[in-house]
Subunit: 296 residues, 6 copies
């Protein structure tokens, strides 16, 4: 079964331009691609990006851009857009034209594609596991992203069916355990509510008492950190008993695995955030296979 | 047992500056850290970076830089430099000073530290496994690095005891299977030798015939792609029989695992390159634990 | 009466560095400051930044940075931090040291200071006018900021006692009239809610019908565009009648003036957004006055 | 009456590229435009930029570039080039194509257009007022520009019929009051003349004595700071009596208003510099009005 | 006799984009080209780049890019690609289109073209002199390049038939005299060999003893610094006597001139490195001559 | 005889920062300085920059910055500032500290120092030759600078006693032969005068008729292109006969050599511009000599 890509899952084009420019400069300066320059100038070839595993595609814009920058004569026909589910052996895209620039862009394109598709694939598996038991529960990413690639990795999470948590420290309030060294929950929420009307104000809670304090203070999300499913269910019930269900979302966080995620969903979590989506996702193994070659 | 860090394992300071600047801009613009601004201005605290697992440290310069940029008053005492082996529970560094900027830099510092230490840790396990059976065989990285972070990831490989393959397409010649769509091995090596005296000229070989051709053509390294240990041993013997041992290094590549790496080493490989070092390394789990807090 | 500055009103230091670097490059490249180089190398002087009008300070970090970049020997003693109310004739800061670099940095420092203090001053007047009649109503900025200066202008709004609306298109959902050319309110809110749990989902409404639709759909803010105070009061009452008061914030927007803002506050608006804060604020007239001079 | 745009009034294309890139990154990173992504992918629409007030256009290149970067499929038909006088209700340009990217670029385009047209409009009113009484007198801008936007704002001044003073500290010599803390006028002019032949050497004068000193020293422009028209006339007569009319231009500066500018022109000023052109210009109110919409 | 350009001599396109962007910004900001804006908007013209001297072309990509950035309507027909030998009076390229942008880009294009062709021309003369007596000896550049232009200057050396030495400190090991203040040759080579298998490990030698030490230690290149041809021959013989000919390349360096280069080649040097190629090359005098003009 | 440096000859610090950052990134990324990392960590040394030739110093700020960036522990004691005349064998500066970072920064520092001192030295020889016969005649640079280094090269010209012509196309008007394909001299000057009051308006003239036209039109400088000294004297006389001496400066340009420059000065030229200053200056040979070494 294939998913068709929707515009909102794609990364901002500005992030694509910048990241691909940087990656290519990293790989070809100062002298250029010594090896690709060995092939005959007239050599032309057609290749296919082929997935070696089942997975979900992300990063296609970056791959397309890498070829376009190296040589606008390279033609890329992208068959499976971001968010597509693919099976081992599936062709993702066809690439044809002069051989040398294709070889130069190959590794840059693959580095983006494999890394981001790996994130999409892992996200998809969490999302599928959770939706199977609780269609409304969302799987969220975190700020545990690779430095410099946040925009692209957040887009890969969307490609995998996941949901983006805040994009940066500047977007929303999240009071974590280490903040409590300098402020109490009630004060933090009150101040945040006053300063930032309309924004999410979330509090990390490690006990039922903290959940009560955060809820009473007016938090919009409580993040239950490292709790067991039974404890989560208890917190959910507590919030409901206060008539705050819906108004206060319950997020579960901390060491969630593909096995425990559904249990948290069943326990009533609205949101399950998984750092692993971006910082533990294995790459999706994708290769660039030669289809045909000749001379122009 | 601890390793002391050597200067050559550290990343170029230029790469550290640029990557940390970009990561912090990504995380605090445009409004700043909404949450850290909630703590009392007078709040001060001391924290320790603590490893939750056994591993090898990398990325310490990036972590130090992240705090320095956010607030020069934060004091960082780094205990375990890059390349140190650490055990679960070990303190890596102490961080003290005003609470708010510590909270702001925390995630950026951890993102570098966990990602790069993960690479160093995986590298170390490959290096240890290989050295146990063949002290002279080297474990190499590849160009399968995260876009924009090559300099830092290559340094993390060195921190793990690994060896850096070429830094970019511009540094050395490596003729791979896809190049053969446009040039023959003998011609490629001859041209490369003429154009780039002194540089490594490597050829990816999938058969004994290609090994013979590459060796006769004057390659300095043959990369045996996806061969079994027995085939590798055969190639090594062949090269020796040609009196080219030492002059032609043998690199094994393609799907090498921690289990198969020692087998390839025993089979006589000089170099074993492992893409997984940089693109499949799980992060090393490191946390920032509160030691004490108060007000100034 | 003076306000003391709080950390959360200050701009991210990253935005300060970047903007000041750019401004100075713009002003001194390629040859340098021809005029300042005419003064004797030994000349030293002390100056004061003096406000020519009553107002509110913003941009002090930028001013400090401009001198530091031009010559670290220049000493700046900042007396009135961002968010301070000042009267005509008040000294904001003292600047002393070698004369030439002070002259070079003078205009850059003033350009930031006058522009950003102008925004803070205008914001303050709106905030004071509104708070006088409705202490809980907040005055918000918009995305009508000067290109390239959003972070600094949003901080200036905070310095003036104002509240920041979303920092960018990436932060929150705001469905405006032009969006309705491609989606219906109900569908937009439903999709936004599903995709972006926890984020603000706001809808611009031009009629009571749209307010009803947005409220029923689950919007967290309704923006009443170009309505009269009486209409606003009607909408507020409507939302209250649906039991959605508090859950659905009411924002008034569109041509709000210092005279009409209090009327909207009285009518029950929670939020009043004023594009003028950033795009119509007259600069605050500040000068750099010579206090004394001599030779070192 | 309409003015047709001339190439020399347009900003350097390099300044346009850089400023628009920065503005869009500021507005869409890291996640993209959440709201525009809600509209149907097939939605298409036609809009017109419409001026809500009489004014003069500037910034059209920036607006065009903003759409082009967001999506090259958006078509922009610019009707009224920079420097055109427009009346309230006039269409400036037509914009058509896929709805989503038009919405994403809308605010960035308007921010440039309104800000820069505001400068052009205010400049035009000063120029018209001055030319009515003295066709040869020029209205000049200053270095009181918004940090980072000098090139664009100087172009907007030209679009309004104004004249650019020096572009930076590096271009020309201007000895101001604060410089006199470290050098005497005669010495400053002599040194400047020797170092920088051919460049403008200007001296700010606050008295007749200083005008005499500057003229005798060989200044090419005397800037009369905060003088009354009668004093200006006296200075002009003095310079004429020295036979220096034409060789020494007379610039009036300091708090010039639309009312006093003609008086200074009549008094004989060659140049009238007005900081307000760039730092006190109200935005020109321009909107993007929907003309039609549908689906492709 | 003309040489046709080969792809490998061309600079990486990324270096071209960046350098041309910077050069044009340097020349046209903030106000633009005041002089070109004086010509009639309808003026069109055709020009030819004409070499005033015999030489070798380099930098054509930069020249083409300069016109493309200033105005895509300018058409450039490049007749003599990089690496072409040209005679005084030869046309290198034809340039036609609107006059103003051609004038704006002219100097930037010429600055690249004359500087880089100067390098190619000087390189060619060294290469020709050396090849006449020893076809296998290579002429190498050094790291004595103009800051910021290394990639382009290294490409110009290739265009002149020269060979690139290491591109940066990061690529290969070269132990020079000043390094010996901190490490002995034998240790340095051993460490380098262990750390960087496959990379060139070169040692600068000032005596026969050092050559012996370096060769025995396993250096891949010995750089004979400031030796006479007879001493070079002695070193070459020594290396041959050790059976290391071919395995250890002999590089001559230090004050090599067009007269002494052939002597070193005859003496048996494999490589002759010449700092002068990049830091002492006189520009090749090239002009842009008007062919015809008119109005469109 | 030594010249002491004056602040106005130094480059803008912004240009120094940017150029050194770029140069070091070019030289040490991605892996760092492989060779310097071979020396013992404890190794320390003292070096001196020593000139191998008589010359004039420029670029000292860049050299200082290069060491500071690589390691702040390196101490640089600069003895001979920019604009100092030095003799072969003179020490320019002392450098001491940890050996490895000194070696890493060495080539970058020397590349700036040799290149820029070469420009200062050549400039000085022209200036001395001209001043010997005509103390008031100035030697000017041109826009024939190395792309990306204009600010530094213009400063080097000042260090050599030379005078800067316009810094960019944006600063002053210069109508050259190719402009005449699109505008007549009289019209160009009139338009330029009207648009750009106070700025230099210069016209390149190839005949006496053009000199007359330019003078009558009101040019402030006539550039006599490729004329002989006798023709120049004729033009000077002509301008004097029109009573325009002093008002219209006479610049000689085009292939001026050290031999012909004094002849042009005697012929009455006010300004002699010499492209060779920046594009044909041989580097000044400077080395970094070891003074002592040891271990810390």
């Amino acid at each position: 079964m294939a998913y068709t890509s929707e515009p909102w899952v794609e990364p901002p084009i500005q992030a694509v331009h910048e990241a691909v420019r940087r990656a290519l400069e990293e790989d070809v300066l100062p002298i250029g691609d010594l090896s690709a320059a060995l092939v005959a100038e007239s050599a032309r070839a057609r290749f296919a990006f082929v997935s070696r595993r089942d997975g979900v595609v992300a990063g296609s814009r970056c791959a397309i851009e890498a070829f376009a920058v190296c040589d606008p004569r390279v033609e890329v026909d992208w068959l499976r857009p971001d968010a597509s589910r693919v099976s081992a052996g599936d062709q993702l895209a066809l690439v044809g034209g002069p051989l040398a620039p294709i070889l130069t862009a190959e590794r840059t394109a693959l580095n983006f594609l494999c890394h981001l598709s790996g994130i999409a694939t892992l996200t998809r598996s969490f999302v599928d596991a959770v939706r199977a038991v609780s269609p409304e529960t969302r799987v969220l990413d975190t700020r545990k992203t690779t430095p410099g690639l946040r925009a692209l990795e957040k887009a890969a999470v969307r490609a995998g069916g996941g949901t983006n948590h805040r994009g940066s420290l500047s977007e929303a309030v999240l009071v974590k355990d280490n903040h409590l060294a300098g402020v109490a929950i009630t004060d933090a929420v009150a101040t945040a509510r006053r300063r930032w009307p309309g924004r999410m104000v979330e509090v990390e809670c490690e006990s039922l008492e903290q959940v009560i304090e955060a809820t009473d203070a007016g938090a919009s999300v409580v993040m239950l950190d490292n709790m067991k499913p039974a404890q989560v269910a208890e917190c959910v019930a507590l919030i409901a008993s206060k008539g705050a269900a819906g108004r206060v979302l319950v997020e579960v966080s901390g060491g969630v695995t593909i096995d425990t995620a559904p249990e948290f969903a069943i326990a009533g979590a609205d949101l399950i955030s998984v750092g692993a989506l971006t910082h533990l996702a294995p790459v999706l193994d994708i290769g660039l296979d030669l289809l045909s070659n000749g001379a122009s």
